[in-house]
């Protein structure tokens, strides 16, 4: 009897320890975000003296909402369009991510359809060739790709920011695997109803594969939003920069001393993606654990 009680207590102590470690990990994961968001709402003085909560009820500082408009003003103006640079960065980032995601989906779905359903000569060789590009690291082709952008006269244009990323081997592979699980009977049934390949693709295959399509779209969106080195290399004008490049330049320049404004800028870059993530996180984690592809 006594032994059983002791054993149960030891088990529950283990449980407590496990939860303590997990919660500590969660705090470490979240702390930088908390620091960023709180910092974006403090005065400069409160940020640099590390006052955790300078507002009511522990302090008398008002919430510094004006940090956001002030940050946008400090970043500067886009001379080309006559709007604040921040909005131009935002426009560029959204445009690049939108075109990249839409283009990648289109090319991947089309290629994956042929690879899964249409019997064309040389298909296996093509598929192996496509997969082989996964072995070519982006770093290896960085210098020649920059040279190509100059030769194509794409340097400092939206073409350089989007066209090289309109294809994703990861997308092709994931969608092909998904398509191949669709029962063959469905195609036969569609053919009896008089549907050709294109109709079958758009009316049956894509709707059925929604989870895989969403995963490909989300991951490509995140990678596009995260891209930094390429846009830094192939753009010159401040009006052509994306948010990530603009933020780095702000950190290297004025934002390096105006901490509260930098935090506001960083929050504006991170928050949309975080909110987006909270609603779609199942697709992220499932997509990643299914494919294990790292960006």
């Amino acid at each position: 009897m006594i032994r059983r009680v002791i054993r149960r207590r030891r088990v529950s102590f283990n449980r407590v320890l496990i939860y303590a470690v997990l919660i500590l990990g969660a705090i470490v994961s979240a702390a930088p975000f908390v620091y960023m968001i709180l910092g974006s709402l403090k005065s400069y003085g409160s940020v640099i003296t590390n006052k955790f909560w300078p507002w009511w009820p522990f302090g008398d500082e008002p919430v510094q909402w004006q940090n956001y408009p002030e940050a946008i003003e400090t970043i500067g103006t886009d001379v080309q369009w006559g709007i604040p640079l921040f909005y131009r960065y935002l426009f560029n980032s959204v445009l690049v991510a939108g075109v990249t995601v839409a283009g990648t989906l289109a090319t991947s779905i089309m290629a994956a359809y042929t690879l899964a359903f249409i019997d064309v000569p040389g298909k296996n060789i093509l598929f192996i060739g496509i997969l082989a590009t996964l072995m070519i690291p982006a770093d290896l082709t960085l210098v020649p790709k920059v040279v190509m952008m100059f030769r194509f006269k794409w340097y400092n244009t939206y073409l350089a920011l989007t066209v090289p990323f309109l294809v994703s081997v990861f997308g092709i592979f994931l969608l092909r695997q998904f398509f191949m699980q669709i029962p063959k009977d469905l195609y036969d049934a569609a053919q009896i109803d008089g549907a050709g390949h294109l109709l079958y693709l758009s009316q049956v295959v894509v709707p059925i594969s929604r989870p895989a399509v969403i995963t490909v779209a989300l991951l490509n969106f995140i990678w596009s939003w995260d891209s930094f080195r390429w846009p830094l290399l192939v753009t010159r004008d401040s009006g052509m920069r994306v948010l990530a490049v603009g933020l780095q330049q702000f950190l290297a320049g004025e934002g390096g001393t105006k901490t509260h404004l930098l935090m506001a800028f960083a929050t504006m870059v991170v928050l949309p993606v975080l909110v987006f993530y909270f609603f779609t996180q199942k697709h992220f984690t499932e997509g990643i654990s299914r494919t294990g592809i790292k960006g």
């Binding site: 994961s29 975000f33 210098v143 040279v147 933020l247 993530y277 294990g292």
Partner: protein, 337 residues
């Protein structure tokens, strides 16, 4: 695996005399093949132009003194120069150190957290979501925030250390090694050859760990989920528990996942660029100049396209060799089910 089950689709639904298809059928078959190629074309063309062609062009650039074009063919000169370049060796050493510390730390922590999360934890989804958050955040933004967390004067990390009676550090701007730093706190002088990695590099490793552990946890969790529950039940019936279960069931059956993560993480550390560029630009001095930073600087700051293309190939071959070694050493011990 390739072309499973649909290779014979056309002939299966075709006429009973497959040797002589009617003209109408042949036309339809031709149309189908044309459609197939047309659907493949955009992806294949883009891959040819932006993956295969640059591979060849890159090699050509690496054999040139490149100024907008191949000004002079120099053969292997860029490669020979790379092997004689002490800065390049230094960059490779920094990369190797970065990799050698961050890979085991990252994977060890991730395995610990995944294993704990797997113990029927309440709120497991919430924990997983929080751990994964740094991975999906824009690297530049989180690196900028961490640059402030590490700040010697105004950063909260130093403030915290000082509040518990420990000395503040210079973190990202500290070129001294962590071993003399640690011992100097106790007033012990270490011999000058005993340095260890610089604190600046260690700070970058802390950041990298923060970003990628969540990703590794998600993969480990998927691997843990694939281990049949019956094995644990059977072992428990035999009286095994705790560590015995871990070492005799979890660890061997997780080896395929661990091996996969090992490969991907090593490659990832060799490619690391964005956060290093944002937080230190490779400095102070060249304390955090990894190979990828060095290659970037050679191209952008010095316009040495040929040299930097040659360096890219060298680093690629080093990664290739490392991957092959990992396959030979660790790959054999992997248990696939």
């Amino acid at each position: 695996m390739i072309g499973r089950g649909q290779g014979n689709r056309v002939s299966a639904s075709a006429s009973p005399l497959p040797r002589r298809p009617s003209p109408a059928r042949r036309r339809r078959r031709l149309g189908e093949v044309a459609l197939g190629y047309a659907l493949l074309a955009p992806a294949v063309i883009l891959l040819l132009v932006f993956e295969f062609y640059p591979l060849g062009l890159g090699f050509r650039i690496s054999t040139c003194d490149w100024r907008l074009g191949c000004a002079k063919f120099v053969g292997a000169e860029n490669y020979i120069r790379a092997f004689k370049d002490p800065d390049m060796w230094h960059a490779l050493m920094i990369t190797a150190t970065y990799s050698a510390i961050s890979v085991p730390v990252q994977l060890g922590l991730a395995l610990l957290f995944a294993y704990l999360l797997f113990q029927r934890i309440r709120g497991m989804q919430v924990f997983r979501m929080l751990y994964f958050m740094p991975y999906i955040t824009s690297t530049v933004a989180s690196a900028a925030v961490w640059a402030y967390l590490f700040s010697p004067d105004i950063g909260p990390i130093n403030k915290f250390l000082e509040s518990i009676g420990l000395p503040g550090q210079r973190w990202l701007s500290e070129t001294r090694g962590i071993i003399p730093l640690f011992f100097s706190y106790f007033g012990i002088q270490t011999p000058p050859w005993l340095k260890g990695p610089s604190l600046a590099l260690l700070s970058l490793i802390i950041y990298t760990t923060w970003v990628f552990v969540g990703y590794d946890i998600v993969i480990f969790l998927a691997g843990l989920g694939n281990i049949p529950k019956e094995l644990y039940d059977a072992a428990r019936v035999d009286g095994a528990s705790g560590w015995t279960l871990f070492w005799h069931i979890t660890w061997p059956l997780l080896s395929a996942t661990t091996f996969f993560l090992l490969l991907i993480t090593v490659i990832g550390t060799f490619k690391a660029f964005n956060h290093i560029y944002v937080m230190t630009l490779g400095g102070p001095g060249n304390a955090t100049t990894t190979a990828s930073i060095y290659i970037f600087n050679q191209m952008v700051s010095y316009n040495r396209y040929g040299y930097s293309a040659a360096l890219s190939f060298i680093v690629f071959f080093i990664i290739l060799i490392l991957t092959i070694i990992q396959n030979q050493v660790a790959g054999r011990r992997v248990i696939y089910d």
